[in-house]
């Protein structure tokens, strides 16, 4: 943090802001809060990654070597929770905080005091979640999906902590989302009509509505788990008139839109970077907006595709299959548009562009496996195997996380006023790209040949592929420290960056603000023509 305070020290002079630690605790500035979100997210990425390494170390060989099965389940659960709620979502919120005001010509977010709160409750939520690992009985061990009755009747005592942690994360997300919506609706510079909003702003706008719609559903689900476990209700207990499958319906009604919450902002990022390094306008701006909106809309109709094996009426299975397949149409439109943007451009390959190109290819592979999973009769074979693990890591890691990396490289000069080391950036990219595919691609094979997910030990036939996967995992984990080093080096000793370091980039943040951007982005709103 000290490096960050140096960074902004020169601006503080004019604002009588508190110094030292209190500056960060009390800040209402969108840039400070954005930075804190991003650092928090990176910390969680490393913590969650360390847990993934525990999982991969245990799975390196058949048999149990390092951890007992109960702890293994805690690791998968907390890894999933941390990556979803601690790494990806806060990273996007951090980007939103930094970029939305700069992109729409606003001085700050609309509700700065709430912004401060929505960040600062997060560390408490995650401390609670992590502390529960050290309780007697251990932390949550029922998967990030916490299906009842495993989570209601058979869970450790720390479940109460888990529930409260989720509540707090949910409140934080909702506050963040409200802030985004209010900012976009009210603080646009004169002339910045909706159809002129940069796509990152558009995708976040839509994401924010998704968040507000589904986080209360999650809150409801965890609350019901809480009362079932501790207060004698039986929402999910057949013996008391409840239904465990009801839990899954509620969970996935939240959970499916949630996975789009983790990918829509990526679409916005990629739609900024691809045109910039192709030196050509984004192809099909308006169809991009409509595609995003239709993906968001469809995401509410497909939740039960996670539950084909629970025993649904065949009509319901057909309905959910068709709707799920439909999502690939707008998603395809996006991919085609990006490719059309690159077509006949004048392309260069700086690190953000490398990550963006990798995003398109690898996310599309994740999309293909998603389409395969949508086909209900075949999903029976894929469901709950490593094929699914491969699928969602392609969309979450080489999708969401790669886009976040791309964004970090792309806007780092604007944030810090300094250029990052391009050589390190490329090194980070190539190490990540190769290792991430060694890590996740063979998981498809494991799943197809019958390895269930969430198991601490496996049959001998899976041994070789698991060893390769684990090696990929350690390599990917280590590669991320190059990124950390690159960021620190950039902040400390990067070359000064011009206002517009990328030849082809467009937008208010490049054209109307210097690098680094001033503490309060636009004190007078720019005119948008």
């Amino acid at each position: 943090m000290s490096t960050m305070s140096e960074l902004h020290a020169e601006h503080e002079e004019h604002h009588h802001a508190p110094r030292g630690l209190m500056r960060w605790v009390l800040t209402t500035n969108h840039k400070d809060i954005g930075s804190m979100y991003l650092w928090f997210s990176f910390t969680m990425f490393i913590v969650g990654g360390a847990m993934a390494m525990v999982i991969r170390a245990e799975l390196f060989q058949p048999g149990l070597q390092l951890v007992d099965p109960n702890f293994f389940n805690q690791m998968t659960t907390v890894h999933g929770l941390i990556m979803v709620f601690g790494a990806v979502m806060p990273a996007f919120t951090g980007l939103a905080n930094w970029l939305i005001p700069m992109m729409i010509g606003a001085p700050d977010m609309a509700l700065p005091r709430m912004n401060n709160w929505s960040f600062w409750i997060l560390p408490f939520a995650f401390s609670m979640l992590l502390a529960s690992l050290f309780m007697e009985g251990g932390g949550p061990n029922f998967g990030w999906t916490f299906y009842a009755p495993l989570s209601t009747k058979y869970s450790p005592d720390s479940t109460a902590l888990f529930v409260f942690a989720i509540h707090i994360m949910g409140i934080s997300s909702i506050m963040g989302a409200i802030n985004v919506i209010v900012t976009i609706m009210n603080l646009r510079a004169p002339g910045m009509t909706y159809m002129k909003l940069p796509l990152f702003v558009w995708t976040w706008f839509i994401t924010a509505f998704l968040l507000i719609a589904v986080m209360p559903v999650l809150a409801g689900a965890v609350t019901m788990v809480l009362t079932d476990k501790y207060f004698g209700t039986s929402f999910f207990d057949a013996a008391g008139g409840g239904d465990p499958v009801l839990f899954q319906h509620i969970f996935w009604f939240f959970g499916h839109p949630e996975v789009y919450i983790m990918i829509l902002p990526s679409f916005g990022i990629i739609s900024a970077i691809i045109p910039a390094f192709s030196r050509k306008k984004l192809f099909g701006y308006s169809s991009m907006v409509y595609a995003t909106a239709s993906i968001a809309g469809l995401s509410f109709l497909v939740w039960a595709h996670h539950m084909f094996t629970t025993g649904m009426p065949v009509q319901a299975e057909l309905f959910f299959m068709y709707c799920t397949m439909l999502i690939s149409v707008p998603t395809g439109v996006k991919v085609f548009n990006w490719v059309a943007t690159m077509w006949r451009g004048s392309i260069t390959f700086e690190t953000p562009m490398l990550f963006a190109i990798a995003f398109i290819v690898l996310f599309t592979i994740g999309g293909f496996s998603g389409l395969m999973l949508a086909i209900t009769p075949v999903d029976f074979q894929y469901h709950d195997t490593y094929f699914v693990v491969a699928h969602f890591h392609y969309v979450l890691v080489t999708g969401a996380v790669f886009s976040i990396m791309a964004a970090a490289y792309y806007w780092l000069p604007k944030w810090t006023g300094k250029m990052y080391d391009e050589g390190l950036g490329r090194l980070h990219f190539w190490c990540s790209l190769i290792s991430v595919n060694v890590l996740f691609f063979p998981m498809h094979f494991l799943g197809l040949s019958g390895m269930p997910r969430r198991i601490p030990d496996y049959a001998l036939q899976f041994a070789d592929v698991n060893a390769i996967v684990s090696i990929g995992g350690f390599a990917f984990g280590l590669s991320q420290f190059i990124f950390l080093y690159m960021v620190i080096k950039c902040i400390r000793s990067g070359e000064p960056a011009p206002a517009k370091p990328w030849e082809g980039s467009e937008g208010l943040e490049w054209d109307a603000l210097p690098s680094p951007a001033p503490y309060h982005s636009f004190s007078t709103p720019p005119e948008v023509k």
Binding site: V314, T348, F445, A459
Partner: protein, 355 residues
């Protein structure tokens, strides 16, 4: 290891395999087209080659085309998928019915039309898991009592669970169905080829989720019939023998020896071999109020389980002799020296009291 789905041994599993390959090839073709266009652009439209950016950034015609064509492809996929799904979800007119009950962490099979039911538990022991013993070929995919089914008959499965959600999955049949506590799910299969087919539980069901395999032996009809007759006779004989046991008395050495065996097989997974349990997860038996308190209460817990906890009822799974032995063992091992010896008749007394 095969690197792809296997076609399996049923008509349905073959359809599923074909569907999988069809979709996979379609994805490959689309992928090749899109990625080649992209890599063409990467190679030919790069700045270092002097490429000058074009000015187009919209074309309603193109955008409509690449909305409609994928839509048509999807319809082409949906038709065979719908056919297969409808066939899969039709369990009517079955020749025999098996009730499959999952619990932490074993399967219970009941032949609906016959006097036969049994538990099926992992056969690889902890020594193999811990790496102290060489792992056998079917490590983690072997059970003590496989399910035996006839070839060529439509077998209907009724799935349910006693505690959490499990999922019964045999890849070669393309059958995967959740076993939900308090509800019954249906699935079916008709196996074409005799053989041994292996699967695993496919829903996170707690600590030993990875140790819940499924083994099905498919036998030709006549072999199946004689197997069934044999098993039924043995099952009835065992029940009769149980009745005689009530009159017998076992001595301490016998109780402790058998008790330890049963304990390690059925109880140690949760309460641990040293009886100390897992703090906060599974209670200790060493010095516990139950294992050192009233005998009848101890018997009740083992026979009927503790509703709402992971402690299940062992009354059906274990024989009277085994129950008596394991309870005696728990009351006298690890320094619990209560000196209580439990006999089959004590167990029966508790069972009768519950009825």
């Amino acid at each position: 290891m095969s690197f792809n789905l296997r076609p399996g041994v049923t008509a349905i599993s073959e359809q599923v395999y074909d569907l999988h390959m069809t979709i996979f090839y379609i994805c490959c073709v689309i992928g090749i087209l899109v990625f080649s266009a992209m890599f063409w652009a990467i190679f030919h439209h790069r700045k270092s080659k002097g490429a000058v950016p074009a000015q187009f950034h919209e074309s309603t015609k193109v955008e409509i085309i690449w909305t409609i064509i994928p839509f048509l492809i999807l319809i082409g996929m949906a038709i065979p998928a719908t056919k297969t799904l409808l066939a899969m979800e039709d369990p009517s007119d079955a020749d025999l019915t098996i009730q499959v009950t999952g619990s932490q962490w074993k399967w219970h099979y009941k032949y609906f039309e016959h006097d036969l039911e049994f538990y099926s538990v992992l056969a690889s022991d902890m020594e193999q898991v811990k790496g102290k013993l060489k792992k056998r070929d079917n490590y983690l995919l072997e059970v003590d009592h496989p399910l035996v089914l006839p070839v060529g008959k439509k077998v209907r499965f009724l799935m349910t669970s006693e505690d959490v959600i499990h999922s019964w999955w045999v890849p070669d049949f393309a059958v995967k169905k959740d076993a939900n506590p308090g509800f019954i799910n249906e699935a079916w299969t008709r196996i074409d080829k005799p053989g041994i087919y292996r699967g695993q539980c496919a829903e996170l069901c707690g600590k030993d989720h990875g140790f819940m395999p499924i083994v099905v032996i498919a036998k030709p009809e006549d072999e199946y019939a004689s197997w069934l007759a044999e098993q039924e006779a043995a099952y009835l004989a065992k029940q009769a023998a149980e009745q005689e046991l009530v009159a017998m008395t076992m001595d301490q050495a016998e109780l402790m020896e058998l008790g330890e065996k049963v304990y390690l097989k059925s109880c140690a997974a949760c309460h641990q071999p040293n009886g100390e349990g897992l703090p906060g997860v599974f209670p200790a038996l060493k010095d516990s109020p139950i294992a050192t308190g009233a005998v009848s209460q101890h018997i009740d817990v083992v026979v009927n389980g503790v509703p709402g906890t992971a402690m299940q009822a062992f009354g059906k799974q274990l024989g009277l002799k085994e129950l008596a032995a394991v309870i005696s063992y728990e009351r006298n091992a690890w320094g619990n020296d209560t000196g209580d010896l439990v006999q089959a008749k004590d167990v029966v007394a508790v069972q009768n009291a519950a009825q």
